[in-house]
């Protein structure tokens, strides 16, 4: 099978111009498995593998595509409560189960090869290995279809969570700090997006004015939007939206980071179906077109990312995206940035200047009307904070907003373009979607 490293698919440089496949690739199906808090270790119909196959089937059914039509499968191995789970995450209950769950595969790990075998996908000709996360996989799927490596491509993002795994055990239980961890864990930084962003966030508040708890309106709005997302964890588990009092009285994790600033690790899987714009015309769903994708892997100067680095990186990401899509900030209707920790979202909002928000303006913007029915329906997906750590709500909400099928979340402003991402400030990527191909 093709290795991702062998295929030059990334759009990760300045000055690449408008994407050569702009409007020629479409998303025609999406599927979510249920979103559970954890796998119970018993229910074989709720494993990460079973949920990934279910998500694929839903995406195919939505598009009206059969298994024999699938010729591309893009799936990273797994993310058990996030890669920062590290060695603590990758162990399933022992002894293993009957096939296909007789190893870690299907339990803590899922990839294209496992799905092809267990779903009986017989006509797959493109199934790369060694893949990164959803933010880059959506770009790879779009590029692969545009380049003609496949025509009907499933992109799957398995995101698992097993009892007792979340950052517990493994290297976090070790007495020693090896490799890159020798520079961080002796002082207490065990890694993750929370540590990456909390220091720049603290610098942000001092540079521009404002307090950490000024994030409360944003976090609360994410919970509200999450309750309007029927498949999400909050909606399916009756999680009451939080109040300002709840937020400002909640416990700290990395003070000033509070528990409500953190997303909830879940057991789920999401699939998206990409095809050519031409083929999309014959499918069941109204196509949503890919207008651009981009990626980046910025290297920090030293041990800890600083605010000025993050502002530079996110500015660069925004510039590349707008250039490749041939659009400007004023052209973007739906904006679904990553919120896996609430403390980073302002960096993206200001870099992309959505609805005119400039550096230092985000906390004031959050204090205004950002509801889905208002003039600035920011993060209409509810993100990870509102749906659980699916890392996919940003994409599926964008698709539904452009289709006009977002239900109670449907915005009342124009919905013809959408920007979505799961990304850290330094690593990941964005995708720009359009209701129309041009």
């Amino acid at each position: 099978m093709t290795n991702a490293n062998d295929y030059k698919w990334r759009r990760d440089k300045d000055g690449m111009g408008v994407w050569e496949h702009r409007g020629k690739v479409a998303i025609v199906g999406q599927g979510h498995s249920p979103v559970d808090r954890r796998w119970d270790g018993v229910s074989m119909d709720k494993t990460l593998g079973a949920y990934s196959m279910l998500a694929c089937q839903k995406a195919m059914d939505e598009a009206g595509v059969t298994a024999d039509q699938i010729d591309g499968v893009i799936c990273c191995d797994s993310h058990i409560a996030g890669p920062s789970g590290g060695s603590a995450s990758k162990w399933a209950p022992r002894p293993y189960f009957a096939p296909p769950y007789d190893s870690e595969w299907g339990l803590t790990l899922v990839n294209a090869q496992w799905l092809i075998k267990n779903m009986g996908l017989k006509n797959v000709k493109f199934a790369p290995t060694g893949l990164p996360t959803i933010s880059e996989m959506v770009g790879m799927a779009a590029q692969a279809v545009g380049d003609g490596l496949c025509t009907t491509c499933l992109m799957i993002y398995p995101c698992g969570n097993l009892e007792g795994r979340y950052r517990r055990g493994g290297e976090n239980a070790d007495d020693y700090a090896k490799g890159a961890r020798q520079w961080t864990v002796p002082w207490g930084n065990h890694g993750g997006n929370d540590f990456i962003n909390i220091f720049p966030h603290e610098q942000y508040c001092r540079k521009y004015g404002g307090q950490h708890d000024d994030l409360a309106p944003f976090v609360i709005n994410q919970h509200k939007n999450g309750m309007l997302t029927p498949w999400g964890f909050n909606a399916t588990h009756g999680i009451d939206p939080i109040t300002v009092d709840d937020y400002v009285n909640s416990r700290f994790i990395l003070r000033p980071l509070r528990i409500w600033d953190c997303d909830r690790p879940v057991q789920t899987s999401t699939a998206l179906l990409f095809t050519t714009a031409d083929r999309a015309k014959d499918m069941k769903q109204k196509p949503v077109y890919v207008l651009n994708h981009n990626q980046y892997n910025f290297k920090k100067r030293s041990t800890q990312e600083s605010l000025d680095e993050i502002e530079l990186w996110t500015d660069t990401a925004a510039k590349r995206m707008y250039e490749g899509a041939g659009l400007q900030p004023k052209d973007v209707d739906i904006f679904n940035p990553y919120d896996g920790y609430s403390i980073m979202t302002q960096f993206y909002l200001e870099a992309f200047q959505w609805h005119g928000v400039k550096r230092g303006d985000a906390l004031k913007f959050y204090a205004g009307d950002i509801s889905v029915k208002g003039p600035h329906p920011f993060s209409s997906s509810g993100g990870n904070l509102g749906t659980g750590r699916t890392r996919s709500a940003m994409y599926t909400d964008s698709i539904e907003q452009l289709r006009g099928t977002a239900g109670a979340r449907q915005v009342t402003v124009r919905a013809e373009t959408a920007l979505a991402a799961f990304t850290t400030p330094s690593n990941g990527g964005w995708i720009m979607l359009g209701k129309h191909p041009s």
């Binding site: 950052r167 517990r168 976090n172 239980a173 070790d174 007495d175 020693y176 700090a177 090896k178 490799g179 890159a180 961890r181 020798q182 520079w183 961080t184 864990v185 002796p186 002082w187 207490g188 930084n189 065990h190 909390i198 220091f199 720049p200 603290e202 610098q203 001092r206 416990r251 700290f252 994790i253 990395l254 003070r255 000033p256 980071l257 290297k299 100067r301 030293s302 041990t303 800890q304 600083s306």
Partner: protein, 135 residues
């Protein structure tokens, strides 16, 4: 509880050997006149490795930002919580930064912006780590 013990590798051994001798030694690129930490195989700026040498620095810095770890995940540090985690910039090159627990400064009392100086703390017999203390 003691802090986690760093394990030196080929690229970091000169650094940790110096720390164990209570000296702070950083990589320096002769071509770029740039300090670099953590150590890497090549200069981050010019991407060359042939002019990287080790240079002792004064160990003076400032606190750029700080948080308090109240719910961390490191078994070895559980009993320490809550504890400070600060980002310290080096005065000789503020683009170089370090983590610090700021021994002597109580949690929630970190004077962001204050001057600090390097100190050394034993985490295992014969193994020191570099820490920073408010001056």
């Amino acid at each position: 509880m003691p802090k986690l013990i760093p394990v030196a590798d080929e690229s970091s051994k000169p650094f940790w050997d110096a720390v164990n001798a209570k000296r702070l030694l950083l990589q320096h690129c002769g071509a770029c006149n740039k300090l670099q930490y953590p150590p890497q195989a090549t200069c981050q700026k010019c991407n060359k490795g042939d002019q990287l040498t080790w240079k002792e620095v004064q160990g003076k810095g400032h606190i750029a930002a700080a948080i308090t770890i109240e719910d961390g995940r490191l078994n070895r540090r559980m009993a320490d919580m809550p504890y400070n985690l600060a980002m310290v910039t080096l005065d000789e090159d503020p683009s170089v930064n370090f983590y610090a627990n700021l021994p002597g400064t109580p949690p929630y009392k970190v004077p962001v912006g204050a001057a600090v100086e390097v100190t050394f703390e034993e985490v295992a017999p014969g193994q020191l780590i570099h820490e920073w203390r408010v001056v």
